[in-house]
Assembly symmetry: C2
Homo-oligomer: 211 residues x 2
DNA sequence: GCTGACATAGGGGTATTCCCTTATTATAAT
DNA sequence: ATTATAATAAGGGAATACCCCTATGTCAGC
């Protein structure tokens, strides 16, 4: 990976996916005039090759492309739990396609020809949203890493604690001494850096689908 | 209110909003063949007059209508925190309108002429979603009522408890005795029917925007 | 065989919570 | 005036949580 790549990936980038070279060039040029980093891809496949969960910014896609269409790209990105907003830009729009794109979670849908201002406003809003999503995601992954460091027993005790059980009840339920529960519980608080039971409950609620 | 109205409002109903009489009649007839209750309105205004937060089911709206348009109806319903899914049915669709409708939270967007099967599938899915929303909402309003019965002081203490403070710290913060905090706290647990601190934390997180 | 991680468990002490009782004061409603 | 509600506070005790310490057994990996 080159130094340039690292700089691009460190900040927000607009990933332009369009099979039409002149469309890519004019869009990247427009973004450049506003000091917005961009990177162009001539197909859904080439962007998917480049895609990774740590990219940040937003994506613009054309619908009609040789190979995977823009909608298929959306589907694949959804399957990969992509967090970047997707803006659909297309000259060949009809209502059913627009609806499908929106149902697939498109952030917005612009018909060519669109005005520069319209597109820039849309991209800037998408980048702002991306920033918010990233901040939330950083916190979530920090907590997720903490939970991954728990042993199975600690996780088990944590769940029972969060459900509102006392150490004594947990001991009975797991067939171990209250003292041992106490130790597991203390380790959970230490590893998750939770400073109170309510903080632990909040952590578990945020990550309830990842435990 | 007639007995018929009560029966209609007790269960799920499809609220058909369309200025075209024959469109209303054919849609209600179709729904009737599937034993789905429906009620027709000739304008956005007349439906809004009838609307109340306790209605359950889904809504179908045409876009182009004299008076308030379908999109304006969506805006007004959103302002009133309507929970029923809105299905947009229109014969005069263009992409920008479809996108606006979806951004306003439309559940689906069907162009006339649509097939009966297509519409029925859409309505049935919307009704299933409505059922889920209602179940969640019943629980939320039950909890909200409980929180409304709290006194100001109890609510204040509850928030500090949920933030992870000890009774002693809360007493210092509010300038009252730890003993008094203890009493407020006990009343909070009693009124919210929370059987543990973790349950109280969960209740507060669910209602965090309503406290 | 040794080390490290993990689960187990007890002793002992302090802090905190939870539950009972009683009591005073203020304010609002009847 | 009387009643009801809310906020205040204290004493006392049981249960629980939290903190220190030591200690044993297992099991994987070197």
């Amino acid at each position: 990976m080159s130094v340039t790549d690292q700089i691009i990936e460190a900040g927000q980038t607009v990933f332009v996916v369009d099979d039409d070279l002149s469309a890519r060039e004019s869009l990247c040029w427009l973004l450049n005039t506003e000091d917005i980093a961009s990177r162009a891809f001539a197909s859904a496949e080439s962007f998917l090759d480049h895609w990774n969960p740590d990219l940040t910014g937003c994506i613009t896609v054309d619908i009609r492309m040789p190979g995977k269409s823009g909608l298929q790209l959306q589907e694949e990105l959804n399957a990969r739990h992509n967090l970047m907003p997707v803006i659909v830009l297309t000259g060949h729009a009809d209502v059913p396609v627009a609806i499908r794109a929106m149902k697939l979670g498109a952030y917005d849908f612009l018909e060519k020809p669109y005005s520069d201002d319209e597109l820039l406003a849309c991209v800037k809003n998408a980048l702002a949203l991306s920033r918010e999503i990233d901040h939330a995601e950083i916190e979530i992954s920090r907590l997720a890493r903490a939970l991954e460091n728990l042993t199975d027993r600690e996780r088990e005790v944590m769940c029972l604690v969060v459900e509102g059980n006392t150490n004594k009840a947990i001991g009975v339920q797991l067939g171990i001494s209250e003292k041992t529960v106490e130790i597991h519980r203390a380790r959970v608080m230490e590893k998750t850096a939770a400073r109170s039971l309510s903080e632990l409950v909040r952590i578990c609620l945020i990550l309830k689908d990842k435990i």
